[in-house]
Amino acid sequence: MLFPKKSFPSPPPRVVITGAGIVTSLGLGWKQNAEAFRSGKTGFRPVTLFDVSRQRVKTAAEMDLPPTPPRTRLTRREEKRLDRAGIMLLLAAQEAWQQSGWKTCDDLPVVLGTTAGGMALGEDYFRQAVNLPHRQRMQPTRALYYQAQIQAGMVEDALGFAGPVTIVSNACASGTNAIGEAWEMIRRGQTDRVLTGGYDALSQMGFTGFNSLQLISPTCCRPFDAHRDGLAIGEGVAVVALETLASAKARGAEILGEITGYGASMDRHHLTQPHPEGDAAYQSMQLACASAQITAGEVDYVNAHGTGTPLNDQAEARAISRWAGHHAGRLAVSSTKAGTGHLLGGAGAVEAVVCLMSLRGQWLPPELAFETPDPACTFRIVARPEEAPVKVTLSNSFGFGGVNATLIMRRWA
């Protein structure tokens, strides 16, 4: 029953990650992405998916998809219904699933964050409905598979499991909120395992939207740099397999890391602009630390939301500085959006997996284009590849609409 609830376990169970899958413009899978993030590689190129001739900026972190979807339990006919986002989601989910070693079951919840779901199908639907009003071919399929819950259901069918689907759509915080909600479901004793993450593919509408707001950098994305002039858009997916520590140990599963804290808050300042002092971001980090029962001084690395826009980075820098207090001077911070672009609903999940990579590999992902710190930065921006002892990471995500979310992860050793 979703209600009445079982009594919350006390203390709540520890939640660990036993599988992770990632797909970005930097590569397919953990290995390629880890090498790219570690070295500070970027994945930008001219957009080829749609016409950008009239756009202010014409580049994005567009990825190369394999020519065919991965082999799963889906039939060829079902595979054909997958759009770009669906294929990306399936690739990452399959990697996480295989790494976790989970088996077919009928009660595995899925919690995914996305802003657009199958937006490309929606765009195709629009074009055909407007331009060829009497042609119905493919329209029912597009209307159905455009919906994120259908894409999540396809993942379940493809990997051979079933379970309730929850789709979180808190704009660019969606991925972090999805993982955070999944973490809380396990901590509340509602389930032992959840497959969770976030995804978004490039879409003409989203790309044009950020261009219309003049938020996309005409030069390069340099989060927290004093001369930054905007964000970059990208596409990406990350999926993680979460389970109780007891479950993972009982299976003898390899543990990749532990999620120890989650915080969420609301910024009501403006639909698209953060409060200048980053109040909600500060609150989100505070709440996450409280739930992890740690202080800011125990965090080694912050993967910032860091979009590269003047307003976001200034507000977030103030929030991080306030949250870190006198520890700020030793705090390492970077935004991997410098390499992947802003992945919207996929951002929080991908950045959580980057934190996991950092914890596993003991390195910090750099922003190679960073030169001059914004005056609001009292912390150190990681500008060159570096090895470092990393025990605890914090990852921020903030969305249009004002939802802020923070995840804290701990090294498993």
Partner: protein
């Protein structure tokens, strides 16, 4: 075990901008008038039941957040303000209210306009429209209106996922992170959405609007109704068909009797209704089918179903009410409300004042 009370209701529907309008329309048990909606390129129009214009311009439209918003935000705001009226009245600061907004199609009007502009000339697509296209926009506007909203979340899915929205709100209440939780569902319509629905049902009559339940653990805020149970979400999958999922949901709901009402999602479409009709074939008590009266409200429909049931239970007409949500393409869920005894209007003025400041 904590009890979860319903402390306010809100509704914007083809029947009007209030719960009373919804109540009257459902009590008359006659389908609301259908209006044609021109479908460009077609001679025959699509069919809709639109939300009528509000009798007076809502005062919330002067709020800076809501000045350039689309109807979906207006519906959400009106339903939200009605649902929290009794617990916010006269309190400053008001209680901490969590906001969960559930959507299936979401902000289709501005999305259509923005993409149309994108295809015409991307260089001049309006930056004012784009932010209002995101699923999270209505929640953001409601949060701005209500001010003291520490937690906000938008969920997307088929209409059955409104039950997950209620469950999420209850989690926040049980965690003590909010004093009350508003669980909203809202949709707006345009010809493209009506066109999409037409592919699945040529006789479909699409409708928009919003419904809202305000929940709290505080018995002093009760409107006389409590949420008794929400079934598991029973997903459809390659192995579990819709019929089986609906039956699994039904099995978690009480058998029912004449003192209870069932509010279902039947829509006079035998094939699409078969799973839900089969699951509830044993039901002998009174039944309410709002889709027949209001149209296909997508995510707004489960919220209207819940509002209608809570309103009937609060009025004393039924001791309990069951809401059946057999979603179109995701899962089946069930929700049950029952009488909670006294209502806020039964309280003495002193107790009421105390309850509003606790």
């Amino acid at each position: 075990m904590s009890r979860v009370f319903v402390c306010g209701l809100g509704s914007v529907s083809p029947a009007g901008w209030t719960v009373e309008a919804l109540r009257d329309a459902l009590a008359k048990d006659k389908p609301l008038p259908i209006q044609p909606l021109a479908r460009p390129g077609w001679q025959k129009p699509l069919q809709i039941r639109p939300v009528p214009n509000p009798p007076v311009r809502p005062s919330f439209l002067t709020h800076p957040h809501l000045r350039r918003t689309s109807p979906i935000a207006h519906y959400a705001a009106a339903a939200a303000l009605n649902a929290v009226k009794s617990i916010c009245n006269g309190r400053n600061p008001g209680p901490r209210i969590g906001v969960v907004v559930c959507l299936q199609s979401g902000c289709v009007q501005f999305s259509f306009r923005f993409f149309e502009e994108t295809l015409e000339d991307a260089a001049t697509a309006s930056p004012l429209l784009f932010p209002e296209t995101v699923f999270a926009a209505p929640a953001s506007h409601v949060a701005a209106l209500l001010k003291n909203t520490p937690l906000v979340c938008t969920l997307a899915g088929d209409p059955s996922s409104y039950a997950q929205g209620l469950a999420l709100g209850i989690d926040w209440l049980l965690d003590g992170r909010v004093d009350a939780c508003l669980v909203l569902a809202t949709e707006e319509i345009n010809w493209l959405l009506a066109d999409a629905l037409w592919h699945f049902n040529h006789r479909a009559v699409i409708s928009g609007g919003a419904g809202a339940l305000c929940l709290s653990l505080n018995p002093e805020w009760s409107s006389g109704v409590e949420l008794e149970l929400i079934t598991d979400a029973h997903p459809y999958s390659a192995r579990v068909k819709r019929e089986l999922a609906a039956k699994a949901m039904r099995a978690q709901m009480p058998p029912g009797n004449q003192a209870e009402i069932l509010c279902d999602g039947l829509n006079d479409r035998p094939r699409a209704d078969a799973a839900e009709a089969g699951a509830w074939a044993d039901w002998t008590g009174p039944r309410l089918s709002p889709k027949l009266i209001l149209g296909e409200g997508m995510m707004a429909m489960p919220a209207w179903q819940c509002v209608a049931v809570c309103d009937l239970v609060a009025s004393g007409k039924f001791k309990a009410g069951n809401v059946s949500l057999v979603g179109a393409n995701q899962q089946a869920t069930g929700i049950r409300f029952r009488s909670a005894g006294r209502t806020i209007s039964d309280l003495s003025p002193a107790t009421k004042a105390g309850s509003l400041t606790s």
